[in-house]
């Protein structure tokens, strides 16, 4: 999967936790989960868990620390998929 395909795969994961539909409509790599999509920090872990399940990867603590925006999420998924 290239980065655009990864963003498309991420959208249905992010959508249920998003409270700003406007920002979700304009979603790009630069979108910040908390500042732009206004996702509750207690729900960021749900996104991490959903990504783990969907892509069958394990996101460890150092990776989770960076998981604040779409770009970081894509970077992490890409690197984990390459290691498979």
């Amino acid at each position: 999967m290239n980065r655009e395909e990864l963003i498309d795969a991420l959208k249905p994961i992010i959508a249920p936790y998003t409270t700003n539909d406007d920002a979700f409509g304009k979603l790009s790599e630069n979108t910040d989960f908390i500042h732009d999509l206004q996702i509750n920090s207690a729900n960021l872990v749900d996104i991490v868990l959903d990504i783990e399940e969907k892509f069958d990867i394990v996101i460890d603590n150092p990776d989770m620390e960076r998981m604040l925006n779409v770009k970081a999420a894509i970077d992490i998924i890409e690197s984990k998929l390459q290691m498979k």
Binding site: N40, S41, A42, L44, V45, D46, N61, E65, L68
Partner: protein, 168 residues
């Protein structure tokens, strides 16, 4: 340094399935997981610990200007707890934050400060008194804006809590 975090317990039941596999281990360290598992009211204990972490993170972020999603690096200890409140501390990368939490029937509100005695000077204020610096960090302006005191804002569901240290 100050930070606060409010959790609307009706909203959290809608937003979070904390019983889902992996949820607790990703957010809480071994000692915290034991506190939750052994609690007569695991839901309250979980959100108490989470609000302590969030409040301390805001104080830490205020100081360091660093953003990270690092719940397990915020290590909580509860020193005293009753049905209506709790006191404790949170250690984050060598820094210590002292916390006080109100446990109400429908919300949990934690306040974290970096200096223990400042807990005595924390007051709840109105949102319209808040000004923000270019990092987005909130202050309350007093004396016609000539003096700024550290403040913190938290919203969740039906609740908004704005706190400040009234004097240092």
């Amino acid at each position: 340094m100050i930070g606060n975090d409010v959790i609307d317990l009706v909203q959290s039941r809608k937003d979070s399935n904390w019983r889902r596999r992996g949820f607790i281990p990703k957010l809480f360290g071994a000692d915290e997981q034991l506190l939750i598992a052994n609690s007569p009211d695991p839901e309250t204990t979980l959100w108490l610990l989470w609000s302590m972490k969030e409040a301390a993170y805001k104080a830490w972020n205020r100081e360091t200007k660093i953003r990270k999603y690092m719940p397990k690096k915020l290590v909580c200890t509860i020193s005293r707890q009753s049905v209506s409140n709790a006191c404790g501390r949170v250690v984050c990368e060598g820094k210590i934050y002292y916390t006080e939490t109100i446990l109400a029937p429908d919300f949990i509100h934690s306040i974290a400060v970096s200096v223990f005695s400042h807990l005595d000077y924390v007051i709840e204020i109105e949102k319209n008194e808040i000004v923000k610096d270019h990092f987005g960090i909130p202050y309350v302006a007093v004396e016609g804006g000539t003096e700024l005191f550290a403040a913190s804002v938290s919203n969740h569901g039906r609740f908004e809590k704005v706190v400040a240290i009234s004097r240092i």
